[in-house]
Amino acid sequence: MLRDIFITPFVDMVEAPDFLMQVLWEGLVSGVLYALIALGFVLIFRSSRILNFAQGIMVVFAALTLVGLHAMGLPAWIAVAATLAVMFVLAVTIERVVLRPLVGQPDIILFMATIGITLFLIGLGETIFGGENKVMITGELGIPTGDTVLEPFGGLLILQHLDITVVLVAVALVGALLAFLNYTRMGRAIRALGDDHQAALSVGISLQTIWVLVWFIAGIIALVTGIAWGARAGVSFALEVIAYKALPVLMLGGLESITGAIVGGLMIGVLEKIFEIYWGQPLLGGNTEAWFAFVLALIVLLFRPQGLFGERIIERV
């Protein structure tokens, strides 16, 4: 038993390095997507102290809208633009209808409100597009679907072109986002709002504009994640569960930290894959990905209650 836990997995790793690399790669790809979703959470949390539970359903909703609009006959790229417009309308609506009346309420009320939004969007999506599984329009968007086979150490390593594209797009998006946050007026306003609400308001930063903006950015992120994940697993409401995956990422990295979201996402993506393949499937009956990330984050939190990169929590009476 102890041998199975402490020795066999590592022997397996060393004996089949190509398989280990394959596992690492797959973990990395999902890690990049977790990081992306977590970024959407972090942006909204920093600027409004809302833990936006609706991020997951926004991913599904964006993907469904894209596929639905394309099915209605719009060319792929125009459908993307139209979906972005829909996400913008959604951001404005959420800000006007839900957030503005709830300003200043306790955190848990706002959190509940986002779960209300989640239910609403699930119902709306199912009413308009139907509940069945759909195929993402990968080819029409010009996403390559082949694969490259490498042979490191005389083994076999298969890299899906789709995954490579996803990683590249995600890296580009994160880069663009960081540039936006650091070098543009609007981006710096978002960060100012995250640091100190009242100070930001007093120098003339508009809360409403920023909220619409961050929800719209979260919508863009949702669309990209939706395309990427939809291309790998099909577009259905089951996609919503990947939002749950972003939560331990946030815990691990810290709710306010952008670096934390990226590092946490990659760490959880890779570690949960390794745990599942080398420990979960042989010893625990598989599907450990459902909880591994949470338990890992919980253990880390016991030592660092604010996450790896979160702001230090200072409490006063």
Partner: protein, 358 residues
């Protein structure tokens, strides 16, 4: 006029601290209890028992458990569904391992298992706070439901992976399983819920309840005035999980009759959390009001198209229901963030001076 409190003088501390210092409150409660114990059981149809009366009571009990933890002790938990599952599975194992056991005793004992699990997952709350804790309780949610699926011993290795409630008799009457009458189950549920509610009301009024409230309002300040945070938080987790576990056992044994692990998924946690929040955090009455709303709403919405004669498919009705419930949750949060219990308190204040404006 009807609710005039003038003239009801208290001449002793005991009278002042009574459970219902205002006479009308006691009368109102008496009327509600009379309805619950006498009028509903003898007028309700099978449909009403199965879709409204029994589920409302069970959900209200689960929300009551969560409310102790979240509303009184201030520790946000998203693992309610899994803790209900622990209660249900513990009860199932007990009645199948010891068939001679009285089912009511089994249900009440199963709460202790979920209390134990609750304390174990509550230990991080000593270091982790707020949303971080909420996400940490998700670890319990996902780990436990995974365990329900993978640990075959829990469901006695049957092929379906579901737990099936056996027919059990108590004093010659079937109380659980397919042969039991709804009315018998209703009375059992009502009895347990009534007793537990009474216990919880008194707990939250006593020393323990005040300790919890101090912890909720500011835990560092509470610590400074001599409250042991560890005891306070862990008792909250234990008692809350006990109540939730009993609710879970009732959920399967007195209502559903059978359950697969996916019953206890996170959706159940959210449903109970909705009830507690829409009803009102930090209120006992609110749980019942919230449960009536959240359980009753889909039932009513399902009846509407048929009553109006609108021909739409049942799948469409389902989708529209989800949408409407989501919208209503947001609506209620905006209109009254402190829940239906606060709404009742406001109405009551108005009633006291009615019909005069001041």
């Amino acid at each position: 006029m009807l609710y005039r409190t003038a003239g009801q003088f208290k001449t002793s501390y005991k009278a002042d601290q009574a459970l219902f210092p205002v006479r009308q409150d006691a009368i109102l409660l008496g009327v509600i209890l009379a309805f619950a114990w006498v009028i509903f059981p003898f007028t309700a149809s099978e449909f009403a028992f199965q879709t409204m009366l029994i589920p409302v009571l069970i959900y209200a009990l689960a929300a009551l458990g969560l409310n102790i933890l979240t509303g009184y002790a201030g520790q946000l938990s998203l693992g309610t569904g899994a803790f209900m599952g622990v209660g249900a599975y513990a009860c199932y194992k007990m009645v199948t391992l010891f068939p001679w056991m009285n089912p009511v005793v089994a249900i009440l004992l199963s709460g202790f298992f979920s209390a134990g699990v609750g304390v174990a997952f509550g230990i991080p709350s000593l270091r982790i706070k707020g949303f971080y804790l909420a996400i940490a309780t998700l670890a319990a949610q996902f780990f436990l439901t995974w365990l329900f699926e993978k640990w075959a011993w829990l469901y006695n290795y049957n092929a379906s992976g579901a737990i099936q409630v056996p027919n059990i008799q108590m004093f010659g009457i079937y109380v659980t399983g397919p042969q039991a009458d709804s009315i018998v189950q209703y009375f059992l549920v009502l009895g347990i819920v009534t007793v537990m509610t009474l216990l919880c009301i008194n707990l939250t009024r006593g020393t323990l309840g005040r300790t919890w409230k101090a912890t909720r309002d500011m835990d560092i300040a509470a610590e400074l005035i001599g409250i042991n945070l560890m005891t306070s938080k862990l008792t909250a987790f234990a008692i809350s999980s006990y109540v939730v576990g009993v609710a879970g056992a009732l959920y399967v044994f007195m209502w559903k009759g059978a359950a697969e692990p996916n019953v206890f998924y996170i959706q159940l946690s959210f449903q109970v959390l909705f009830i507690a929040i829409i009803g009102g955090l930090g209120s006992i009455l609110g749980n019942f009001l919230g449960a009536i709303l959240i359980v009753g709403l889909p039932v009513v919405l399902n009846l509407v198209p048929g009553a109006l004669g609108i021909p739409i498919s049942s799948a469409m009705v389902e989708h529209l229901n989800t949408m409407i419930i989501g919208a209503l949750i947001v609506f209620f949060l905006i209109v009254e963030p402190h829940g239906l219990a606060r709404l009742w308190a406001l109405i009551r204040e108005k009633l006291i001076i009615w019909p005069f404006p001041h």
